[in-house]
Each structure stands twice: as C-alpha cells, then as structure tokens.
C-alpha cells in the first residue's frame, strides 16, 4: 500500500516535471508556431538566475525561484524577440537556425560566466514519511507549481481580455490589426510569457537537478516531444501529453529500470504520433484551449 502511494507520487512528479519544462514551449510553439531551440537554455537561465539571486544576493529562495527567475527570463525573451525572432515569423527553418545559434551562444556564455561545473542550491523543503517510505517534500511543491502554472495559463487565455486578444492574433494577425490591436506587440508579449514560463521551470527545478551549461539538452528533447504530441491546444494538449508520458515512463521505470523507462517514453511518442499525427488535442480537443 505504501509502495502504491510512492509510485503514484513519482508518476505525478514526472507529469509535473514534463508539464513545467514544456509549458513555455507550448505557448511559444503551440500558439506562435515558433520553434525555439534555445528553450532548454531559457530554462537554464531561469535556474542560474534563481541560484545567483539566492546564493550571491541572499534573496529568499522562493522569491528567487518564483518571481525573479521568470521576470529576468521574460525580459531576456523580449530582447531576443525584438532582436531576432520577430524578423523570422512564418519562416520555420530560419527560426530554428537562429534559435539554435542562440542556444549555442547561451551555452558558451554560461560556461564563461558560471564555469562548466554544475551548481545548485539545497532543496528548501524536507522529506515526508509515507508508511515505511521516505519521499522528497520538494516534489510536492513541484507538483503544486505545475498545477498552478497550468491553471494560470488557462485562466489568462480563457477569462482575460489579453488572452482573448492573443488567441485572436495568433489565429489571424491581419484581423487583429484591423480591429486596432498591434499584432507585433502581442507577439512580443506572448513570446515573453513563454520565456517567463521557461524561467519559472528552471528556477523551480534548480534545487533538484543542478544547473550546468550543457544541461539544456536534458530538457529540450522531452519538452518538444511533449508539446508536439500534445498538439495545437495549449492547455489540454499539455495536460494530456505530459500525463500520458509521465505515466508510461514511471510505470516502465518501476517495472524495469530508468534506461528502459526513457526508452518507453520515446516508443510511446512514436506510436502516439503514428496514430494521432496532429497530437492528442488535434484529435480529441479540437478548437479548445
């Protein structure tokens, strides 16, 4: 019984992990169709920001993770959008090339500034006992954060004027312009929101996995698999695909080992995309959030 609780807990954690690292990409790729290959490095920037703010500036860890990290990465996102991405909307290959270059430049800069050693902070929450088992209390915080992030994205897109306008502009930029909205600024704000979500993920995950300049590759592949399998709808796609992959990976990991678990994720993704080429939400949640 205790073990069952632990297994469920680990599954929920993996789902939350996937949802967190994919949320920013889901907004940028899902809404704007911009393939941001520097997404992993955006996450790292958030992680580095949280660590520096906490370790060097002495700011409370939760403030560093939940406020400073997303704000800094959002500002960085605005700069990148203005300088690079806005010239490349609608040109998929060029965006990929530009953001890949950006990713390499960021890896180089991280190495120069922070060195290539992995840095980290201690997890701020202790452990919890479940019967005979000990589990990390910090994982509960990660699960709660993922729920919070998804709820926030849903609330903004569904209930606010800004969300409505953003969705409209993504569907038809000319129409939005005709209504008097500045499409260019909406794109900028959406990209910044995606960057902020990546920064938030980096901040929250920093105490758990450690941040090094090359760690971005750990996230980018999983994030893309989750977002593409999720399909075009930001919220329902994110929930269903991270739920599906988190479940498959952890069950396979518990039954065998973590290598086969990772393999299970890839096999599941291939089968899923063969059966549902437009992703889960392209089939079941069409034209919903």
């Amino acid at each position: 019984m205790d073990l069952a609780v632990v297994v469920v807990y680990e599954i929920l954690y993996t789902i939350a992990f996937l949802a967190l690292i994919s949320a920013g990409l889901a907004v940028v790729f899902g809404m704007m169709r911009v393939v941001n290959l520097a997404h992993g490095e955006f996450i790292l920037l958030g992680g580095y920001t949280a660590i520096v703010a906490h370790n060097n500036l002495g700011i409370n860890l939760f403030v560093s993770m939940l406020v400073i990290a997303p704000v800094v990465v959002a500002v960085f996102g605005v700069v990148i959008e203005r300088l690079i991405v806005r010239f490349l909307y609608g040109r998929l290959i060029n965006t990929m090339l530009a953001t890949w270059g950006l990713s390499l430049a960021m890896i180089g800069s991280f190495s120069l500034i922070f060195g290539t050693t992995t840095t980290s902070v201690k997890a701020p929450i202790g452990s919890i006992s479940v019967g005979a088992f000990n589990i990390s209390g910090y994982n509960i915080f990660i699960i709660a954060s993922a729920i919070g992030v998804i709820a926030l994205i849903f609330a903004i897109l569904r209930f606010t004027r800004a969300g409505l306008v953003a969705r409209g502009a993504m569907q038809n930029a000319d129409m939005a312009t005709a209504f008097g909205y500045d499409a260019s600024r909406i794109y900028m704000a959406t990209f910044a929101a995606g960057a902020a979500l990546a920064g938030l993920a980096g901040g929250i995950l920093a105490p758990l996995v450690g941040i090094g300049p090359n760690a971005g590759s750990l996230y980018i592949a999983k994030a893309f698999i989750t977002v593409i399998s999720g399909g075009a709808s930001v919220v329902s796609g994110l929930i269903t695909s991270s739920g599906f992959f988190g479940f498959v990976t952890q069950i396979v990991t518990f039954l065998t080992n973590s290598v086969i678990g990772e393999l299970g994720l890839l096999v599941a993704a291939i089968i899923l995309l063969r059966l549902l080429p437009t992703g889960i939400s392209g089939r079941f949640f069409k034209n919903r959030l």
Binding site: K122, F133, N134, L208, A215, S258
Partner: protein, 406 residues
C-alpha cells in the same frame, strides 16, 4: 589574372608546407608531452585539476633543468567530455605533433578508445585515473587506484560498520559494470551480498523512482559507482528524501570530481570512500604538493585523487626517462619496469613491473563537513587484482583488459 582550382591547390599546399617549417625548427629540441583530458563538459570537474597537475609537474621538472638537458613542452588537448574526440586527437598527437608520451584519459571508455591507436603508433601512454583494473598492455602504465586497492578495503569495512545487504547504483559503461562485479566479489568474501544493482546512462539526473525502489529493497547500505555531473543529482535527491539519515552510502567515485565540495555539507556528510589521496591527510609529501599547487594556482579547492595520481604519473615517467637516459620508448618502458618509485601527493608510489600498475598507500575516508577525513590508512597496497591475471614479463605482447568473472 584568373586562377583555376588546380593552381590554387598547388599554391595552398606550398604555403602550407612553408607554414609548418618554422614551428618544427622552433620546438625541435623540446620534449613533447601530450596531455589529453576532458577539461570542459560534464567530466570537467575531473579533467581541469588533472590538466593543472600535469602543468605543475612539467613546470617543476623544467625549472629543475628539464629532462636529459631538454625542456618539456606540454601539448594539451581538451576532449570536451566527448568520447569521439579522443581517437581523433590521439591520432593528431601521434602523427602531427609527434609527442614523446601521452598522459590522460579519464573515463575507461576514453582509455579503451585510444589504447589501440597509441600502441599501433608506438607512443607511450600513461592512464592515471582510478579505474576497474585489468589492463594488461606493455605500452600502458596505469598509476590510478584499482579495485583490489579500493573496493577490497571499502566493501568489507562498510559491511562491518553498516551491515551485509548492499544496493549498487552504477554508471552504465565498462567502469561501472566491471566495478560492480568486483563489489559483488568482495562483498561475498566478507559475508555480504549485493541484493540489487541498477545501471544508469551518464546523462540520467532523475533518481526519484530509484530512491523508492531502494527503500522497497531495504538494503543496509547503498554503494554508488556513479560518474559525472548528472549523476550528482542522486546525492541531492537522496538527501531531499531524507534518506541520508536512514540508509548510509559508500562510493567508489565520490570526491574524485570534488563532488563533496559541490554538494552541501548536509548532503555529503557520512559518505564513506577509499582513496589514495586526501588533502586533509597529515603527510609531509601531501603538504609539499598542496603548497606548490597553491603557489601556482592560487588555491587548492579543486584538487582531488585522480589529479594527484596524474601528478604521480608525470613524475614516474620523468624518473623513467632519467633512468633510461633516452626518450626511446622501449628503453623508457624497460627503465620503468625496474620498479621505479616516487614519493608525492599519494605517498610512496612504486611501479609493478609485471602489470605496469602501481603499489601505493590507501586511506579509508569519511566525508564530514565537505572534508575528506581519514579514518584509517593502509600502507603499500599492491594491485593484486591485475597481478592475478596479468604478467607482462612472461607475455610482453598481451593487450587484453582482463575482467573479473562472476
């Protein structure tokens, strides 16, 4: 005037030929010392201090008048934690740079990648890292610690201290696999048992489900044979789950990359390791080495066991060259096979002629407050694992890496 492609190529070749002449003339009378290490990427924490100790040893030898009256020129290559670059750079060092000796390689995978190349090119090779033992090759000298010097002490001592049931977590490549078999072997000899061994690719950084599995198996201790920066997450997540107060951990690799300084004190406290070097050891030759390192590089924060044995490697090689009186590869090998000794950061190190490994001192260490506290020291431990299978005096043409059979 137009230039066709053929004329252009001729011109370029001629220019290339001229360009190489001055560099040959300039360094014709230096001894070329090749250093091949991962000084960036996920194994950087291992490689950077190793390159520094190569540098330190070379500079000290040069300051004392060089070798055979010639100065040593160090030619360093950074393999960027990428195994494919090892073979590429090893070829470049033997063909273009024409180095007299190569020191380096960190992961066993990298050593096995370049060992055949260097043997074929007749370039003497020193591998100075703690590893799984068993390499039997007359062209290679291994100055690092082997299982008979490490697991043979660590496993029985921890079984005595903590109990018989061991859960092994190991890196999934030759080092982790073979070392796990040695742990099984020594556990059995000490009346213990490896109840489960899990293997992880080097980029795995999520150990959540593993930690749950360990708790289900209820071992008396965990033996970590984990390698690289990603695997370091295990110790963080282990502490985050509060397990560091419930099940003790020992490791064959911990602190080789100064991991105990990267982790916080509470995450690392109580972990047991067994090494040939501790900066905290009260030994005169260790203090001399640390003073020289501090003078050259400012501080000794990044120094670790395999950097210390890299220093030994350079010094032993230099002793061999001095004794041989020449750089001729076979003569140097024969000189080293007379059982040359050097006393340095890891105490007295003596080359074992039969196996090309070393006999040296070992220390059982407990990590406390980010320091390597020596609990007990063991004097002059031979590489008996490799001695049992390898005799290069009887079989000088052997090139095999022997593995333990379980």
């Amino acid at each position: 005037m137009t230039i066709n492609r053929r004329q252009f190529m001729q011109g370029a070749t001629a220019a290339g030929a001229f360009a190489t002449i001055p560099s040959v003339a300039q360094s014709a009378d230096t001894i070329k010392f090749g250093s091949i290490l991962d000084t960036s990427g996920i194994f950087e924490a291992y490689g950077k201090p190793m390159e520094k100790t190569h540098q330190l040893a070379v500079e000290e030898i040069n300051a004392a008048g060089g070798l055979l009256g010639r100065q040593i020129e160090m030619i360093p290559y950074d393999t960027q934690s990428n195994m494919a670059l090892y073979t590429q750079y090893a070829r470049r060092m033997t063909r273009r740079d024409k180095v007299d000796v190569i020191h380096g390689g960190i992961l066993s995978a990298s050593r096995e990648a370049i060992r055949p190349t260097l043997r074929k090119a007749k370039t003497l090779y020193f591998y100075n890292t703690t590893y799984e033992g068993g390499v039997c090759d007359r062209n290679v000298f291994c100055t690092g610690t082997t299982p008979a010097q490490q697991s043979a002490i660590l496993v029985p001592e921890t079984i005595k201290k903590w109990g018989k049931k061991i859960y092994v977590l190991a890196a999934d490549y030759n080092y982790g696999q073979i070392t796990t078999n040695w742990i099984r072997h020594y556990a059995k000899n000490a009346g213990g048992d490896v109840i489960q061994a899990d293997f992880f690719p080097l980029n795995v950084s999520d150990f959540g489900s593993t930690i749950a599995k360990i708790q289900k198996a209820k071992p008396d201790m965990v033996m970590a044979v984990l390698v690289g920066a990603a695997h370091l997450s295990f110790y963080r997540q282990w502490a985050a789950a509060g397990m560091n107060r419930k099940i003790p951990v020992a490791s064959t690799t911990m602190s080789s990359g100064n991991d105990h300084r990267i982790l916080t004190a509470s995450e690392g406290d109580g972990i047991m390791v067994c090494q040939s070097f501790s900066p905290e050891a009260d030994i005169p030759s260790v203090k001399t080495f640390l003073t020289a390192y501090k003078k050259r590089f400012g501080n000794t924060d990044d120094i670790h066991e395999i950097a210390a044995s890299s220093y030994d490697g350079v010094r032993l090689w230099a002793e061999g060259v001095k004794k041989a009186g020449t750089l001729d590869r076979m003569k140097v090998i024969e000189a080293l096979e007379t059982g040359i000794s050097y006393t340095g950061p890891t105490g007295k190190v003596t080359i074992d002629p039969k196996t090309h490994h070393v006999t040296h001192d070992m220390h059982l260490i407990e990590i406390k407050n980010q320091k390597l506290n020596v609990i007990k020291s063991y004097s002059q431990i031979p590489p008996s694992d490799t001695q049992a299978v390898c005799d290069l005096q009887k079989n000088p043409d052997d090139t095999k890496q022997y593995e333990i059979k379980i």
